[in-house]
């Protein structure tokens, strides 16, 4: 039996006795709660769903956290959604933290571009609707956070979706997309956001999931970007080229991939060159 208790693990908190740990362990043992069958390492991998990039970087191993950074209006929302979409088509679950679009709009995007997408595998943490003053209630797909300030609440809702997909739906592959960190950084200081991400990038590893975190280029100082970069295993970079925007992947292969011009066609990212 392999159990760990985040409430009582030394690594996360440090410096307190093991008695409490043993108590919980005993309690659960006595109560016969055995979850070892749920603690399984899978060798699953992920694909972005952006064909040329996928060919060049190969399979992305589970537990990978990726920062996506690029200028405003370069289509980052669509690109993030396409990556999520690829997951849903691969029978993954998806958790999306939406800080700029109300949850309903995000759902609509998926319904619009691919009516065959299984909606019961999408969970959205909506940080917008409540701040607009609507008294909206949670639905199966959407959980309302009070605001982008409430990282504690956002964290609880992400965890609830992860549990639901893992335990009730028995899905073992999940993508988390936070769109965007830039909004969250408007309301909380860097240190606070760093702590939050430190915890959740770790949880993505534990869940063998894939994490995508979107950042607006030009909105943050160099220190912010450098600090956050430490938490990620790779990056998807977008820049403005001579004839529109370009994309590349960094950190998956010894050298970055070349820059590609791209066009967004519905739920497809078409790379040129």
């Amino acid at each position: 039996m392999k159990l760990s208790f985040i409430g009582l693990s030394r690594s996360e908190v440090g410096g307190f006795g093991t008695t409490a740990y043993t108590d919980v362990f005993l309690y659960l043992n006595i109560q016969g709660i055995e979850q070892d069958k749920n603690w399984v390492q899978f060798n699953m991998t992920y694909k972005l769903g952006i064909s040329r990039l996928d060919e060049l970087i190969g399979d992305i191993k589970n537990g990978t956290n990726i920062m996506m950074i690029g200028p405003p209006i370069s289509g980052k929302d669509d690109i993030a959604n396409v990556i999520v979409c690829q997951g849903l088509l691969d029978a993954n679950a998806a958790v999306i933290v939406s800080t700029r679009e109300p949850g309903d709009n995000v759902l609509e995007w998926f319904e619009h571009y691919d009516p065959d997408i299984p909606m019961d595998r999408i969970g959205i943490v909506d940080c917008v609707t409540r701040t607009l003053g609507f008294g909206a209630h949670d639905t199966d797909n959407i959980k309302m956070a009070s605001s982008p300030v409430d990282l504690t609440g956002i964290g609880v809702k992400i965890s609830q979706f992860l549990e639901h997909f893992w335990m009730e739906m028995q899905l073992r592959e999940t993508r988390l997309c936070i769109n965007s960190l830039s909004t969250i950084l408007m309301y909380s200081n860097l240190q606070t956001v760093f702590r939050f991400l430190h915890v959740f990038t770790g949880r993505m590893k534990a869940a063998n999931a894939l994490g995508i975190y979107v950042i607006e280029e030009g909105m943050h100082d160099e220190k912010t970007i450098v600090t956050l970069k430490q938490l990620f295993d790779g990056m998807i970079e977008i820049r403005e080229g001579e004839e529109g925007y370009q994309i590349r992947a960094v950190g998956f292969t010894p050298k970055p991939t070349p820059w590609f011009d791209y066009e967004i066609d519905g739920a497809n990212i078409v790379l040129q060159g």
Binding site: I6, F16, Q35, S159, N189, V199, R203, A206
Partner: protein, 390 residues
């Protein structure tokens, strides 16, 4: 004493939080700890105590909505309920609350507000912090730790009880340690059982300096409405065919389904009970012998067992005992339900115990599952036994 209103916790703390004392719900990120403070506040206010809520991550009107989602009516508390609004200033919104901290990053103006609110309370009350961690994020770790000591001393002076929600993000080790072990009179750990994901939530007393705290851990679930419920994931209802198992499960449950054919192999009942601060999922096993392996399987994860017997059918008792043995091999608490007490020829519980040849310590309780008589008494008894284990 201010009761926390969290099931079992007041027992473990010998009544609750004494006035002038402090308690922190020390919650791990991703676990729903914020409801603990909210529930303690609303429980105290509905008992007539005055309450102050220090709102640092939610708009005041949303807080009142949250209360009502859990079934707690803020209007009912009248002027016994005050909010210190440490949130609106952050997003530049107007506030109509009595106490407003214009600059939430300034810990001294927060301290001033808290002192004012404490002075204004006419009698001992309870001050609950929605999120101490948010305050710490805004004001800094050491500044906040210093301020907490000041607030706590003031509370002692005015005989108020202090209750803090704290999320243990990876702050410095010193900060976490002093919150967990030093600056509060009691610490309640609100944690998660993790594998690949958090698949269960529990709480337990880590420390309480006014008593020898009971160090037990309780699994919980958050219900809407309802709030924090001690949670028992699996209680088994077993017994011979036709004894009244399905009837018993339905009589206990708020929601229940009976699946007469799941696939083609089994028939089982599943119900969810929400009763007096406890939530439980109960599973009825099929009675026929060919299903014994399934009972074994179900029994493996159960926390307690009901054996339902038809009190008029002594000839089935041996079979009942056999079914019990299948589950008892796992050492679970058991209550025997002497069902169909309304029928002619029903044996008394004592009689049944003799016929089963069971020791005095085994509880046999009378019931009429068809009318619901005795079923909740049996439930409470089993819950107590389950909670005593561990």
């Amino acid at each position: 004493m201010v009761e926390t209103g969290i099931p079992k916790l007041d027992d473990y703390l010998y009544g609750g939080v004494p006035i002038g004392k402090t308690l922190v719900y020390y919650t791990y990120p991703g676990v729903e700890g914020v409801v603990f403070g909210m529930q303690s506040l609303c429980h105290a206010m509905s008992n007539g105590t005055s309450g102050v809520y220090v709102a640092s991550s939610t708009e005041p009107h949303r807080i009142r909505e949250q209360f009502s989602e859990f079934g707690w009516d803020a209007d009912e508390y009248g002027d016994r309920f005050t909010i210190i609004d440490v949130f609106s200033g952050l997003i530049g919104a107007d506030s109509h609350e009595r106490y407003v901290v214009a600059d939430p990053e300034d810990v001294r103006s927060l301290t001033q507000c808290i002192k004012n609110a404490m002075e204004d309370l006419r009698e001992p009350g309870v001050i609950v912090f929605e999120s101490l961690s948010t305050i710490m994020d805004l004001c800094g770790e050491s500044e906040t730790l210093d301020a907490i000591e000041e607030w706590n001393q003031y509370a002692m002076l005015y005989d108020h009880a202090m209750v803090y929600n704290f999320t243990a993000w990876p702050y410095s080790d010193d900060t976490l340690l002093s919150i967990k072990e030093d600056i509060f009179d009691s610490t309640i750990s609100v944690g998660g059982i993790t594998g690949n994901v958090i698949f269960g939530q529990y709480f337990g007393v880590l420390k309480a300096n006014w008593t020898d705290a009971v160090r037990k851990y309780i699994l919980f679930k958050i219900l809407k409405p309802g709030g924090v419920r001690a949670y028992i994931p699996k209680i088994l209802v077993t017994g011979p065919f036709d004894a009244g198992k399905s009837t018993f499960v339905h009589a206990l449950s708020n929601r229940a389904v009976s699946v007469d054919r799941l696939g083609t192999t089994i028939a089982l009942d599943h119900g969810h009970v929400d009763y007096k601060g406890f939530a439980a999922d109960i599973f009825g096993t099929p009675g026929q012998e060919r299903f014994d392996p399934i009972i074994k399987l179900l029994g493996g994860e159960a926390m307690g067992v009901f054996l339902v017997l038809d009190s008029t059918r002594a000839e089935d008792f041996a079979r009942g005992k056999q079914m019990l043995e299948i589950t008892r091999s796992f050492g679970l608490p058991v209550v025997i339900v002497a069902n169909k007490q309304d029928c002619d020829g029903a044996l008394t519980p004592e009689n049944i115990r003799d016929k089963l040849d069971m020791p005095e310590t085994v509880l046999v309780m009378p019931a009429v599952a068809a009318t619901g008589k005795g079923v909740f008494e049996a439930f409470e008894t089993l819950i107590d036994m389950v909670m005593e284990v561990g």
